[in-house]
Amino acid sequence: MSDASITEIVNKNLKKRYKKEASFQRYGQISILLAASFLVIFFTDIISKGYTAFNQSEIRLSIYMDQEFIDPEKTGDIEEIRYGNFDGLVFQSLYDLFPEVTSRAEKRKLRNILSSSAGIEIQNLVVNDPSLINKTLDLWLPLDDEIDMLLKGNIDVLLPEESRRVSDSQIKFIQILQSKGLIEGKFNDTLFTAGDSREAEQAGILGALVGSALMLSITFIVAFPLAVAAAIYLEEFARKNRFTDFIEVNINNLAAVPSIIYGLLGLAVFINFFGMPRSAPLVGGLVLALMTFPVIIIASRAALQSVPPSIRDAAYGVGASKIQTVFDHVLPLALPGMLTGSIIGMARALGESAPLIMIGMVAFVVDVPSSPLDSSAALPVQVYLWADSPERAFVEKTSAAILVLLAFLLSMNSLAIWLRNKYEIKW
């Protein structure tokens, strides 16, 4: 074939070949665009629903710490003061703002604009500092969640009174208070300092956050060393035979087992057989460790395999024993990959709710856990619980919990990237 004809043949096909390339690139761009737009929709939805939860409507009340209410027998004893009528104090100062309200029904409606935690806040103040008795304090106190929803525009005031949870007179009270400048939206620190509650304005994410953190620490402490040891043994020491093949297949299968089955296993083994406490981060952490274990083994083996054989040869070449070769040379090179793999595995475990439901972590727990043996909630289960709650105010709380969960995930993944860059040995 002459040169000229080759030129012709190539030229004829050239256009088609480049077209193929261009259209393939286009498909790729379209897929990325689609994926990105789903992500944008997802985040806008959650953030637009959730950002209001970081705000809580509060009312400014001027409260006279009347000893008659707090300590009518004037004992000065903290234990007596603890049982003082603090709700009465708050209600009294609220009644004082509306002297025209006299009927019992109207008074009750007025009282109900306040959160039930208002009295408790004052109780805490006075118990910590009894010298406040008989003084007047200006305080910002939380409003009820329904009123909060009203102020955030989530309740339609045009609906007939009986089909909404806020009465006409309450709307009127709020309007008057607003015109006096006594109502303001404040940063909702309760969200980050409290455990769960049936009252939306008192419900916080801290219990779930601490529960998840405790759980993941246990997962890491249990799963990482075991899985890395297993990976090193399988990859570096074990002879390749039927038995190790069988183990490998089973590890891959375990990584694909639905998480709820690990929950059932945890229920049967840790709770029923070993008698560990229910709803505890310890059991949750162990269950998640079982679940993450095969994932870390697979990631660690891949990391070990990616260490160039020339490094092993070099170490053997100067007379290093197998264990010296592995621990002095192979492991330091594989460790960043192992860490990245495990953190990604743990990030998956963090978002897991099904196995936690099986071991009772779906329970309603108010207290923030102080040890892995205490009952606790976990972030994904908290999302599930709040999404299931009927009150309107829990809608924004749910989104806020999702945001906290995502932030947790994001920081874990950033940690993975940071660790990888820090310890990665380049050559």
Binding site: R312, D313, A314, G317, V318, G319, H329, W427
Partner: protein, 274 residues
């Protein structure tokens, strides 16, 4: 097929030339066979390695040179399917039959690889690693001395003495290979195995390594695999020609290059040397 080729396909083929060395024998290989699973990679090899000489292993790719060199320090052990039979002795001690520990063997038989493979650690650590794991030194000062003298003998000291704690991988290819040689001689071996030590290097770096090999042979036995005929001619005293797992011919470098006896050797030499 030429008659000589048919001849070597038979298992009872006998190596042509003198497998004995004129120098003091350090290592001797008798009736060595290597299998990778079913694959018979080395067939009945007999060869001696002598002190203060460079033995060059030549032959086409896949002929078993590297397999052979890796038998001498049992680096083939790391391959599960590899089976080695025959007697390989280091100063009359069999290295395969449990008479010598593999760690000790590799301390006495150093190796330099085709691609420079310094540890991703500092230059100092690269050289100090061997002496340290074998417990050869008792003080930091002694270790410093070993590192320094090893680098010196590898002709690298002047280039790196100001940056002993820079990573070994930051050096150029030729420097890295000399660092690997320094690492190998730091454990004071009897033999140094070199598996195509210059194939990844430019001509100037190659020349430096060749000069170094020439110097090292004053103290060590060196077994070197090479694809460069001219290199084999320049640095070696004895040469062995491998073909399809057989050791076809062995003799002084002069004899092999100028007057090979076997047809295959002749073809290879003339083909390459042109």
């Amino acid at each position: 097929m030429k008659s000589n080729e048919i001849e070597i396909l038979k298992d009872e083929f006998q190596t042509i030339g003198d497998i004995k060395t004129s120098k003091e024998v350090v290592m001797s290989v008798k009736n060595c066979n290597v299998f990778y699973g079913e694959d018979h990679a080395l067939k009945n090899i007999n060869l001696e390695v002598g002190r203060k000489e460079v033995l060059a292993l030549i032959g086409p790719s896949g002929c078993g040179k590297s397999t052979f060199i890796r038998c001498l320090n049992r680096l083939n052990d790391t391959i599960d399917t590899c089976k080695v039979s025959g007697d390989i002795t280091l100063e009359d001690i069999d290295i395969y039959k449990g008479h010598m520990d593999v760690v000790l063997l590799r301390a006495r038989v150093g190796m330099v690889f085709q691609k420079p493979n310094p540890f991703p650690k500092s230059i100092y650590e690269n050289v100090a690693y061997g002496p340290r794991i074998h417990g050869m030194t008792i003080s930091k000062k002694e270790l410093d001395e070993i590192v320094e003298s090893s680098l010196e003998r590898a002709g690298l000291l002047d280039e790196v003495k100001d940056r002993m704690h820079a990573t070994g991988t930051s050096l150029s290819g030729g420097q890295q290979q000399r660092l690997c040689i320094a690492r190998a001689i730091a454990v004071k071996p009897d033999i140094i195995l070199m598996d195509e030590p210059c194939s990844a290097l430019d001509p100037i770096a190659t020349e430096k390594i060749e000069e170094l090999i020439d110097e090292l042979k004053q103290n060590y036995a060196i077994v070197m695999v090479t694809h460069s005929m001219s290199q084999a001619a320049r640095v070696s005293q004895r040469a062995a020609y491998f073909h399809l797992g057989h050791l076809v011919e062995v003799g002084t470098t002069e004899k092999i290059f100028n007057d090979p006896e076997h047809q295959l050797t002749r073809n290879y030499i003339s083909g390459r040397m042109g």
